[in-house]
């Protein structure tokens, strides 16, 4: 060591004991020496005084040793007991007063207990265990003792021993013997702790005794806890509580249970503490921990906030809070916060299930319809038209049924959820897996009913229902259908891997046949995606969903599955988009709502308040897709007998009927208004009806009628469009839209619609008449020039013609007998559709800007290009800027352009040029031009083309070109 290497500088010899060089007894050496043992020796020499007394050096040596090894035994010195001088005055005071108060307490208590003592003693004695078997003798010599004892037990005893024979004891001895046969094992394994009584018999104990025992058990618990023996700790805390329940012990027990991850008990205990002491910081902290582990992050955060409100500096609480927030971010996707994750899990299954149910039922229904109406004239009608044409009763019923169905599934969701929660509380540790099991069980039981349907489905398949040709989605080849149903079965029984194989085969089979049945293929992909999702194979799931969606855009299930898969993969943005899309299609999917909300939170955490900016655009779901879903959702419920809760069903029925009642009333009121000609009010009534039931097509067609009467062609057209999206063969809607188009002077569209009406029902005379009329108009339109010549007079007269319209209505109504009941009003309404076909706007030469404005407005309202052309013909182009003043608008410009193109450019290109030229000089021209749409610009371009073709002395091509530039072409 270091000391040996030190040369003997002084050579004065060594100490008597230990033979330490004298030179080592030196400040410098001691300061540098790192060998504790050597220093200890030096210290001993110094203390002994054999080399002389050096108190200073001794102190330095002690300090050095303490510095190197604070636990060194050499440092232990005999010390006198501490006295008052070793403490500060306060400490001394505290020590003494504490003892004094204890003494007084003890003395008082002693007196009391002396009075209390007596008869309880016997009672206590009765509870005592029996006396140990007498005269058991045990050798202290290990070699012989076992044999000794054995023989003692097993051989007959002498008489004196029999006297003391204790049957019970002997019996228990025999038991023990059995135990002893494997006593070796028993010795070396820890005795089970279950053997510790959980309760302490406190009969006859005074309060003081109870406190004493409770405290003692608590201390035992604390010690066990300190050693890491949490099970034992919990046992002793329980014992303590059995004597006197105190908040502190519950609190400690909670902590031990947290260590044992017995979250549920810990939670209970924390709550007991908080019942006793509502503000207990430790309990709050512990409850927060428990909640955190149970993944009830919100409650955990609440608790932590409570802690922080009391102790703002509590670093533990702060830390946990941060931790939770991180977890909230990080954990959401996969295992998720069980509270919510659980929900997804259930709902996911719910959804996939009910979704499947829906899908299958829808298919089935369609097929049935197809079968029934196999003679129906149009495939479209078979698919969707029939219900649309059907009476309102049936439809609204179906709708109500749909709602009820939804409600039922909701209820089931709830029950599953509560079950899930229960499960979780029972076995919090592995509650996820448990839960899975439970859910699977649930799934299976629930899907039994479905499988029957599925079978039926397959049968009807093989029955060759394809021949009906009605349902587009039923054309699976038998092999594929078989594979699919097998896959479904496997899926239901939880064998997702094998289900994947079946679906894959089915997919091959179908895609081998070409792309003739995209819907089926889409469903297969979607099903396979579900399997992948179950397996946790998110990337494959997403791929399949993508394929399914390519084949059938905006179909619900693949979207939902893709969303879930994305969420699992923490691709929150994509997941969010998908959920939102799902909600556009069907806003009643609670799971999607929840998930979207959850993801929103996550994204806000992740990206801050501007998270939306980072989102890819959410695709707009076409209305058709939305409504298609609705059909799918509402129709099957009609066929599906409700299985749950008759009362609820009845109540639903009541609500539905109430709503129906109100709906009918409003509609009748609307019809009445129509009868009296108050179309405005009627339209309002119908609008109210729509609030109650957005699916009722008749209301839309009726309102369209009102709008037609009010010349609100645009609105009328919109209503008809809406109806036709739902029921693409609604004959009335077509008829009225035709009229609306006619009003909008879109004669071509009008003709098309009339043709559709006649296609559906060739016997509608009104349609035939109208068609003739419109075709004439169309013809007229094309030869507008002549038409413009015919117009005379200065007044615009819009004649209201009560014409054959009424009759038309009646005919229509009779052709669809189902309708009559509900829309009696329509028949009675005198029709006053303006017949602009035979009429022309009378245009006079405007004298001032006001006149001009009036005429333009009138022209514009009717989109009467001919009249406009007239106006332009009689107006001096040079005055245009003045007349237009600052009223030039896009519409006006457009109608000018159209009029010029259709009516004037052909006849008088010079005039057209002049108009264009002066139009460009008008106020606001630039602005209006800038606002023109592409299509409108094309029209302007066309006009220029016409002008460039037809030469005139009024302008040269160069002029035209420069003007073109002015028009930004």
């Amino acid at each position: 060591m270091g000391d040996e290497s030190v040369p003997y500088l002084l050579g004065e010899g060594t100490t008597k004991t230990y033979q330490i060089p004298i030179s080592h007894l030196d400040y410098k050496f001691i300061e540098k020496c790192t060998d504790v043992k050597h220093l200890e020796k030096i210290l001993r020499v110094l203390r002994s005084g054999e080399e002389g007394c050096y108190p200073e050096l001794t102190l330095v040596c002690e300090k050095r040793i303490e510095h190197l090894d604070p636990r060194s035994r050499a440092l232990r010195k005999d010390k006198p007991a501490a006295t008052a001088s070793d403490f500060t005055a306060e400490e001394w005071e505290a020590i003494n007063s504490e003892l004094t108060s204890w003494l007084t307490e003890m003395n008082e208590d002693d007196k009391k207990s002396q009075l209390l003592r007596t008869d309880t003693l016997n009672e206590r004695q009765d509870n005592l265990p029996p006396i140990r078997c007498s005269s058991s003798c045990l050798s202290t010599n290990q070699n012989k003792k076992l044999q000794n004892k054995r023989s003692k037990k097993n051989i007959p005893r002498d008489y004196s021993e029999w006297d003391k024979f204790d049957v019970e004891k002997e019996c228990s001895k025999i038991d023990e013997d059995c135990e002893e046969s494997n006593s070796k094992a028993r010795f070396f394994s820890r005795p089970s702790l279950a053997a510790i009584e959980k309760k302490i018999d406190t009969t006859g104990m005074t309060k003081r005794e109870k406190i004493f025992i409770a405290t003692r058990e608590k201390e035992k618990g604390n010690e066990a806890f300190a050693t890491g023996d949490y099970v034992e700790a919990v046992t002793y805390y329980t014992r303590s509580i059995s004597v006197i329940p105190t908040a502190a012990v519950y609190n400690n027990k909670a902590q031990a249970e947290i260590k044992l991850q017995d979250w549920d008990s810990a939670l209970q205990d924390c709550e007991k503490v908080l019942d006793m002491e509502p503000g207990n910081i430790k309990a709050l902290m512990r409850r927060a921990t428990v909640h955190m582990h149970l993944q009830n992050y919100q409650t955990a955060i609440e608790d932590l906030n409570k802690v922080l409100s009391v102790e703002p500096e509590n670093s533990m609480a702060k830390k946990s809070l941060i931790e939770i927030e991180e977890k909230l971010k990080g954990l959401n996707p996969v295992s998720g916060p069980p509270g919510k994750g659980k929900k997804i899990l259930i709902q996911e299954i719910e959804d996939s299930e009910s979704g499947e149910g829906r899908g299958e039922n829808a298919e089935e229904c369609e097929r049935r319809d197809g079968d029934k109406t196999s003679a129906a004239p149009a495939a479209a009608r078979a698919a969707a038209g029939e219900p649309a044409m059907g009476n309102a009763h049936r439809k609204s019923h179906g709708k109500g049924g749909g709602k009820g169905h939804d409600r039922d599934t909701h209820k089931q969701k709830e029950s599953a959820e509560s079950r899930g929660k229960k499960g979780a509380s029972e076995k919090s540790e592995k509650h996820l897996s448990d839960h899975e099991g439970e859910v699977n069980g649930y799934l299976r039981s629930h899907e039994k009913s479905e499988s029957a349907e599925a079978e039926e489905l397959c049968k009807s398949h093989r029955g060759g229902s394809q021949s009906a040709g009605g349902g587009s989605s039923t054309s699976l080849p038998p092999t594929a259908a078989k594979l699919k149903s097998e896959g479904n079965e496997l899926f239901k029984s939880g064998q997702f891997g094998e289900a994947v194989l079946k679906y894959s085969e089915a997919i091959e089979c179908v895609s081998g046949l070409g792309e003739q049945s995209p819907d089926d293929l889409s469903i297969l992909y979607s099903n396979r995606a579900a399997c992948y999702l179950k397996e946790g194979n998110c990337s494959d799931c997403i791929q399949d969903c993508n394929r399914a969606l390519e084949l059938q855009p905006f179909s619900l299930k693949p979207l939902l599955r893709r969303a879930m898969a994305n969420e699992s993969m923490e691709r929150y943005r994509q997941a969010y988009i998908d959920y939102k899309t799902v909600l556009q299609i069907d806003s009643s999917i609670q799971a999607a709502h929840d998930s979207a909300n959850r993801i929103t939170k996550t994204l806000i955490d992740q990206d801050g308040p501007s998270w939306r900016e980072k989102l890819p655009p959410i695709p707009v779901v076409p209305v058709a897709a939305q409504l298609h879903r609705w059909d799918g959702g509402s129709l099957p419920s009609e066929n599906k007998p409700s299985t749950v809760d008759v009362n609820r069903e009845e109540q639903l029925q009541m609500n539905r009927e109430e709503a129906m009642e109100k709906f009918k009333r409003l509609k009748n009121e609307g019809n009445d208004f129509v009868k009296t000609g108050e179309y405005e009010k009627a339209a309002n009534k119908y609008s109210e009806c729509m609030k109650l039931n957005t699916e009722e097509c008749t209301v839309y067609t009726n309102r369209a009628l009102c709008y037609l009467k009010l010349y609100k062609y645009e609105e009328a057209k919109r209503d008809c469009d809406h109806v036709l999206q739902t029921e693409d063969s609604n004959i009335k809607a077509f008829y009225r839209r035709a009229l609306a188009y006619k009003g909008l002077q879109n004669y071509q569209a009008s003709v098309d619609d009339f043709n559709k009406v006649l296609l559906i029902d060739p016997n509608v005379l009104e349609a035939q008449k109208e068609l003739e009329e419109v075709t004439q108009l169309l013809h007229l339109d094309s030869s507008a020039g002549a038409g413009s010549e015919q117009t005379r007079g200065k007044k615009i007269t819009i004649r209201e013609v009560t014409e054959a319209d009424e009759q038309e209505e009646r005919q229509l109504a009779t052709s669809e007998d189902a309708e009559t009941h509900h829309v009696p009003a329509e028949e009675a309404v005198p029709k006053r559709v303006p017949q602009r076909s035979s009429e022309k706007l009378c245009v006079w030469e405007p004298s001032n800007a006001y006149d001009f404005g009036q005429i333009i407005n009138a022209v514009n309202a009717n989109k009467d290009k001919a009249a406009c052309a007239d106006l332009l013909t009689i107006t001096d182009p040079k005055t245009l800027p003045v007349l237009l003043s600052n009223k030039l608008e896009g519409e006006i410009l457009l109608i000018f352009i159209q009029s010029l193109e259709h009516y004037i450019a052909g006849k008088d290109p010079g005039l057209a040029y002049q108009h264009l030229f002066y139009l460009s000089k008008a106020e606001r021209f630039k602005v209006v031009l800038a606002l023109l749409s592409k299509k409108e610009k094309e029209e302007v371009q066309q006009l220029f083309d016409v002008l460039s073709e037809s030469q005139s002395d009024q302008y040269s091509l160069e002029h035209l070109e420069s003007l073109k530039k002015v028009y930004e072409l």
Binding site: T120, C137, K145, F187, F188, P191, E197, K220, G228, E232
Partner: protein, 360 residues
């Protein structure tokens, strides 16, 4: 341990002391009171029991009882909290149980041993330890006997060397493992350094070892739990702490030993409120306060896959020297944490306060 050495280090304060006119062998706190008992031998060869009460910093003698034979040891361990009967062992080998309210006649008396009863311990009373109240006595006659106060004349268990074996002087006995009604062990220490562990449930010798020097005192850290630790002190100033949780088939229990001083360690007593703190009293009139620190893993597997214990470490919290004579007896107050009484051969009994035990 570093904390123990800082300003938070416990201090031992000599709160009160009382000079006695006889040799004190044992002193005991009367449970649930501020009174204490001193047991000893008067100069004329009789036994003395003195009852003192603590009044401030003064010990007030309440009662003095004289008995024919010097009293070596006593315990309250087998009595109920209400009765608080004292069990004593005397030089003549008698086990007596006294009602201190009426001490003229013992409530129980048996001539248990042929020679002096060196040590006595009780369990099943005071709410400490499940099962029947029992008293164990260890004697110079080499036997260790377990008594049930409800059974007269004969012990309920007798542990003695077989015929022909040399009898060893049993210096100390202790109960332990009484965590339920069946389980119970007795540990005995002998003058030759033997430590024997008797299992009263199976009536077998569960374990034995030898620590080379006479065993002056053994004590389990707690009697009423699944046995956890055992401290055995020796004649030569060493003491051993055994981890009693894991027993290896051949190696027995793991232990750590520490040499406190050069002289005999007469007594070891665990703090009733914290089993990991204990005080040893030494031949040189000194007291040492120790803390046992558990290892990270209390057991490990040996090469054959058997569980074996791992001993922890010991740290000295405080040491004081009170006397030049040995401190032969020591007792912590079961009711007041840190309050402690010790009797020394300088015929003085001292009441000590150990501070800051909460902060360890």
């Amino acid at each position: 341990m570093s904390a123990a050495l800082g300003p938070e280090r416990p201090q031992v304060v000599a709160h009160a002391q009382q000079a006695l006119s006889y040799t004190v062998f044992d002193c005991k706190w009367v449970p649930r009171s501020a009174r204490l008992l001193c047991l000893g031998s008067a100069a004329r060869g009789t036994g003395v029991v003195q009852l003192y009460e603590l009044h401030g910093a003064r010990l007030e003698l309440l009662r003095e009882i004289e008995k024919p034979k010097p009293i070596k040891c006593g315990t309250f361990g087998a009595t109920s909290l209400q009765q608080r009967y004292l069990a004593t062992g005397d030089f003549d080998g008698n086990l007596n149980i006294w009602n201190l309210e009426a001490p003229e006649i013992p409530v129980y008396s048996v001539k248990g041993h042929k020679e002096i009863i060196n040590s006595i311990d009780g369990v099943g009373g005071l709410g400490i330890g499940e099962g029947a109240p029992e008293i164990v006595t260890g004697s110079r006659d080499g036997t260790v006997k377990v008594w049930d106060p409800r059974q007269n004349d004969t012990p309920v268990a007798n542990m003695e060397p077989v015929q022909g074996e040399s009898k060893r002087d049993c210096w100390t006995v202790a109960f332990g493992n009484a965590y339920n009604q069946e389980e119970r062990v007795v540990c005995a220490g002998y003058d030759n350094g033997d430590i024997k562990l008797f299992d009263l449930k199976t009536m077998s010798l569960r374990w034995e070892t030898n620590i080379k020097n006479g065993v002056c005192s053994v004590e389990f850290d707690r009697k009423d739990i699944n046995m956890n630790k055992l401290v055995a002190t020796s004649l030569e100033g060493k003491f051993h702490v055994f981890d009693m949780r894991t027993q290896h088939p051949t190696k027995g229990f793991a232990s750590v030993s520490e040499k406190a001083q050069k002289s005999t360690i007469w007594q070891v007593r665990h703090l009733p409120q914290n089993r990991d703190i204990f005080m040893t009293s030494g031949g040189s009139g000194s007291l040492h306060l120790w803390k046992y620190e558990y290892p990270a893993q209390r057991s490990k597997k040996d090469s054959e896959g058997s569980e074996m214990g791992v001993a922890g470490s010991l740290s000295l919290l405080q040491n004081v020297t009170l006397s030049t004579q040995p401190i032969s007896s020591l007792d912590w107050s079961p009711d007041k944490k840190g309050l402690c009484v010790c009797g020394a051969f300088d015929q003085t009994v001292r009441v000590l306060i150990v501070t800051k035990l909460n902060k360890i």
